[in-house]
Amino acid sequence: MNLLDLVILIPAIGFLAALFIPRANEQFIRLFTLGVSLLTFVASLGLATGFDKNAAGQQFVTNFVWIQNPEIHYHVGIDGLSLWMVLLATFLTPIAILISWTSIEDRVKEFFALLLLLEFGLVGVFSAWDLFLFYVFWEIVLVPMYFLIGIWGHDRRIYAAVKFFLYTMAGSVLMLAAIIFLYTQAGTFDYVTVLDQLQSGRIALSHLQETLLFLAFFLAFAIKVPLFPLHTWLPDAHVEAPTAGSVMLASVMLKMGTYGLVRFCLPMFPVAARENSGWIVTLAIIGIIYGALVAMVQPNMKKLVAYSSVSHLGFVVLGVFSFTQVGLDGAVYQMLNHGISTGALFVIVGFLYGRKHSLLIADFGGVATAAPWLSIMFMITTFASIGLPTLNNFVGEFLILQGAAIRNFTWAAFASLGVILSACYMLWMYQRVFFGRAAGEPEPADDHGHGAHNDHAPVHTHAVHGGHDSHGHGMPDLSLREWACVLPLVMMMVWMGMYSQTFLPAVSAQDARILTTIEKGPQASNVNITPVSGGSAHAR
């Protein structure tokens, strides 16, 4: 029983324990789940500090046979790839609990318990090293999210929940089939063994088999990512989900897809991955631009952020399939960045919803006057999402694009268009929501004509009036609890943007290992592929 097992088990125990709390004690349930999630987070911090960042390979391993026949291991461990994913999940769960503190009023117990179950599943997914165990966790995650959307969602929640469930199931069934096929070949579900057998050539897959297996895994992950054109479940799910659901969905669950690509698709099927990288990257780039363009015309804030996720995750897929150290590092880093910044976007959109009970951009305006700190926090998040240097997304996006450019400059050129477009949609939304005057307030005759712009118009602006003037009604500034949700996220944005060295070395070490396994792949020499040795070829 090491620390990682604790991190996995605490939420599970917390979930079970929460079920036994009488439902009338709502406040206690909230405090209890918050406590459990914080405890998990603290324990996971231990993982980060105890982690040897320069070593590739798993650490904190627990491995024993869970089921004899068929041989299924309880094999968990973390490496540089999963370490930060686990931390992302444990970091965001307390925040998800905090933002639901008052907004969830019915079935309080189930809601908060399900969040713990979700955390359990997410931590499990990111630390499982047994294919079957991975699949089990993968499906466990689905259940609480289905209920979170289906029970506490908005008007079209059932439609959204079912769509979400069916899409994901469609993919994961194929993945299960592939896993079982691998089991028939390898005789075990243990990922390390399977991988070893694949790489040493003891399992000789025909070319067709490898391609099909790759596609089966890829499809499951691509739906989760979601990659264009499999993304249409995402906007619906986000719009209908409660805030905490959106946060967890966008920030952590989507990463299951990209994580899976890096963890399973690349090392197991290197040849197929490379052969198929062309159209995958094309789809990713289409997704980047398409998501951004569609985001630009959304009237609904959550939909906008959802489509922006499609765009941002396109970057991640691009980075993964650039097969360069730089691109892959960037992709993994971008997963974390996107988790933090999009999480924060949803958190703040949730605050806005709590104040006005609307998600439509048109219903807002002039928020900056009434709630300056809220606006500032949202602005920082907006710029993080746009990819402003010194904030987190920039590091990831830059590395991804650099990696893509090393592989194929045209890719980078097209993908960079997404960076321009992201500024368009985010700033446009920001302007309409926070600037100007509150919806319903008459716009004074603004003479646009020749040079009548008046520096000295009586601008009764800004904070000076705080939330107490006429347009401040129903739009209070951040409360203490809301500060507690937003501030950690914003601080993480700055930290990750300014000092990526805290995070990147562990990722780099693992990525380097994945890339070498790809290059050493047994059949790699049979297929003629452009060199993928990263920038080194040019750099020396």
Binding site: Y167, H231, T232, Y290, L293, V294, M296, V297, Q298, Q325, D329, T369, F383, L388, P389, T390, F394, V395, F398, L399, A405, I406, F409, A412, L417, V419, I420, A423, C424, L427, Q431, F435, G436, D446, H450, G451, A452, H453, N454, D455, H456, A457, V459, H460, T461, H462, A463, V464, M498, Y499, S500, P505, S508, A512, G534, G535, S536, H538, A539, R540
Partner: protein, 615 residues
């Protein structure tokens, strides 16, 4: 040793203090923090870093921490100071200090006072970061950061839709430029394996010309965005929505010149890519002429100066493009002096006229605001290239270099110089001569505002021979050939300036009817120019509208909701049709469910029986 980090960090601390606590602080403290931090970093530059460095080949380098490290991609937070940087540092901190002082009075009655100074300090932080950077990525940090501050400050009056629109436009157009810059960086890293200036410039001469040309052209895209060159200049005139000190500091003196700085910094790359140089020169020249023609027709005093800025930036690019990097930097510096002066003076005028910006509502102000009139006259003389003023020296250096490169460029430049003199003096006459046409009684500005103006006026007049930039930078950039007819050329350009001034005097003081007649005579052409060639409208129609409508109607409504969701739902519907029977099964009737369970188990039993049972 030199604690270079102190230079940007001081304004940053000012930003933090004013930004976080500013709402509760008294104005005096805000002023002290805002001005103090900038002045302190100016003093640090001027008194510590400047004098104590041996400016031979010497270069101060500092590495603070590794920012991004992945594989062989390694970028540190590195600063470096050489002479070019030193000049930029002096300009930025010096003019920045003056404008901060000016702004305390100018913004006195505005809401969000603390916010304004917090943003200004943040801008200083990023701008200093930009000029101190020792690699492209840190330069890019400053590059994007100043864009952010520009966005924030243009949209400072965020109640006004036009202001926030202008802010968005500035940021997004700049993003288009940054797109080019980012691609340039990718190419640099691919080809050089590093983004450090030292490494890149050392290796650049050995690289193929095509590569360097591609890099240089992409950098030019970035520079065109930031420095408002064709075709990305459209944001700068709109940026005048911001408070006037912002226009002076960011949109005239410092930020918009970052493109010129970047090109000069990358001079090694540009010098080895002659084709790219030619493009730079052409774009610069085209922008200079184009913006000057628009400037002639504008009535908003800030718009006039905005187009003038675009035009002057074109000059700087012309200088860079013809290989006269030091002349470009020289003009950058003198332009910073006189354009900051012009904008701040314009701010003073606007103040005097109670917020009026339309020159047709001004006139005769020399009686009411004599000091403002005097300093603006200095600035206008300088920009017109009046002999002895700062503008004269730098413009002449650029034009001479242009003549050496291609004589026709010189002639176009001279015409532009004439136009520049014309429209600046046109603004001057319209504002200060004639009778007051506006409402209320104009008044002179406070001494807090006038003092920085006077300093700038002195610099505009004397800056040219006080700071001989080409002399300072002569070992950084290659010499360009001497032109035999140098004095002749000088005379021509001076004459062009004087003709411009005289013509404007005739048209706006002596015979005020004439301009209207000419405008009428030109008819459609005049209206086209007055409407800024309708470039904004063309961009809207050609780019913005198709994208938005296409995204909404085609991508979202048709592809997303129609094709993809349609396909998904279609599969569902097809399944329903095929499985009409299956739907019947879902009758909700328990007994029929039981029947199906039974049927299923019968099938299983039969199959197992046929297979021989389970053993």
């Amino acid at each position: 040793m030199f604690k270079l980090w102190l230079i940007p960090l001081l304004p940053f601390l000012g930003f933090l203090i004013n930004g976080i606590f500013g709402r509760k602080l008294p104005k005096l403290v805000i002023n002290a923090v805002a001005i103090g931090s900038v002045v302190a970093s100016f003093l640090w530059v001027a008194l510590v870093v400047g004098p104590s460095t041996d400016w031979g080949e010497h270069k101060v380098q500092a590495h603070y921490f590794t920012w991004i490290q992945s594989g062989n991609f390694n970028v540190g937070w590195d600063f470096a100071v050489d002479k070019l940087t030193m000049i930029m540092l002096m300009i930025v901190t010096g003019i920045g200090s003056l404008i901060h002082i000016y702004a305390t009075s100018y913004m006195d009655h505005e809401g969000g006072y603390y916010r304004f100074f917090a943003y200004l300090n943040l801008f200083m932080f990023f701008m200093l970061n930009l000029v101190l950077a020792a690699n492209y990525l840190i330069l890019f940090v400053g590059w994007e950061g100043v864009g952010l501050c520009s966005y924030l400050l243009i949209g400072f009056y965020f109640h006004k839709k036009s202001a926030t629109n202008a802010g968005n436009k500035a940021f997004i157009v700049n993003r288009v430029g940054d797109f080019g810059f980012a691609l340039a960086m990718f190419l640099v890293f691919i080809n050089f394996g590093t983004l450090n200036f030292n490494g890149v410039f050392a290796a650049a001469p050995g690289k193929p010309v095509e590569t360097l040309t591609a890099i240089a052209l992409l950098m030019l895209v970035g520079a065109a965005g930031k420095s408002a060159q064709i075709p990305l200049y459209v944001w700068l005139p709109d940026a005048m929505e911001g408070p006037t000190p912002v226009s002076a500091l960011i949109h005239a003196a410092t930020m918009v010149t970052a493109g010129v700085y970047m090109c000069s910094r990358s001079s090694v790359i540009f010098l080895h890519a002659p084709a790219a140089m030619q493009v730079v020169a052409l774009i610069g020249l085209a922008t200079a002429v184009f913006a000057a023609t628009i400037g002639i027709t504008q009535y908003d005093i800030k718009k006039v100066f905005a187009y003038s800025t675009v035009s002057q930036l074109g000059y700087m690019f012309l200088g860079v493009g013809v290989g006269a990097f030091s002349a470009g930097i020289w003009h950058l510096m003198t332009h910073a002096f006189f354009k900051a002066l012009l904008f701040l003076g314009a701010g003073s005028v606007i103040h005097a006229c109670h917020g009026e910006q339309d020159m047709r509502q001004m006139g005769g102000l020399r009686k009411y605001a004599p000091w403002t009139c005097l300093v603006l006259a200095c600035g206008s003389l300088a920009i017109a290239g009046f002999p002895g003023t700062s503008g004269f020296f730098s413009k002449d250096a650029i034009l001479t270099a242009a003549y050496a490169h291609a004589p026709w460029m010189f002639w176009v430049g001279v015409v532009t110089a004439g136009m520049t003199a014309f429209y600046v003096w046109r603004a001057f006459w319209m504002t200060f001569w004639g009778d007051y046409r506006g409402h209320g009684k104009p008044h002179e500005s406070s001494w807090v505002m006038l003092a920085p103006l006077m300093v700038l006026a002195v610099l505009s007049l004397a800056g040219g021979f006080l700071f001989n930039v080409p002399e300072m930078l002569k070992d950084m950039f290659p010499e360009h050939g001497e032109v035999p007819e140098e004095h002749m050329l000088m005379a021509i350009s001076v004459a062009a300036g004087l003709i411009g001034i005289a013509l404007s005097w005739y048209m706006y003081v002596v015979n005020t009817e004439l301009s209207g007649k000419i405008a009428n005579a030109l008819g459609g052409v005049y209206r086209l120019v007055n409407d800024k060639y309708r470039v904004d409208e063309a961009y809207d129609a050609a780019i913005v509208e198709p994208i938005i409508h296409g995204s909404s109607a085609v991508l979202w409504k048709t592809i997303d909701q129609g094709v993809i969701d349609g396909a998904v739902n279609g599969i569902g519907a097809r399944a329903q049709n095929v499985g009409g029977l299956l739907r019947r099964i879902q009758s909700g009737n328990i007994r029929s469910y039981a029947t199906w369970v039974l049927a299923g188990s019968v099938v299983v039993i039969i199959l197992m029986g046929i297979a021989g049972g389970v053993r």
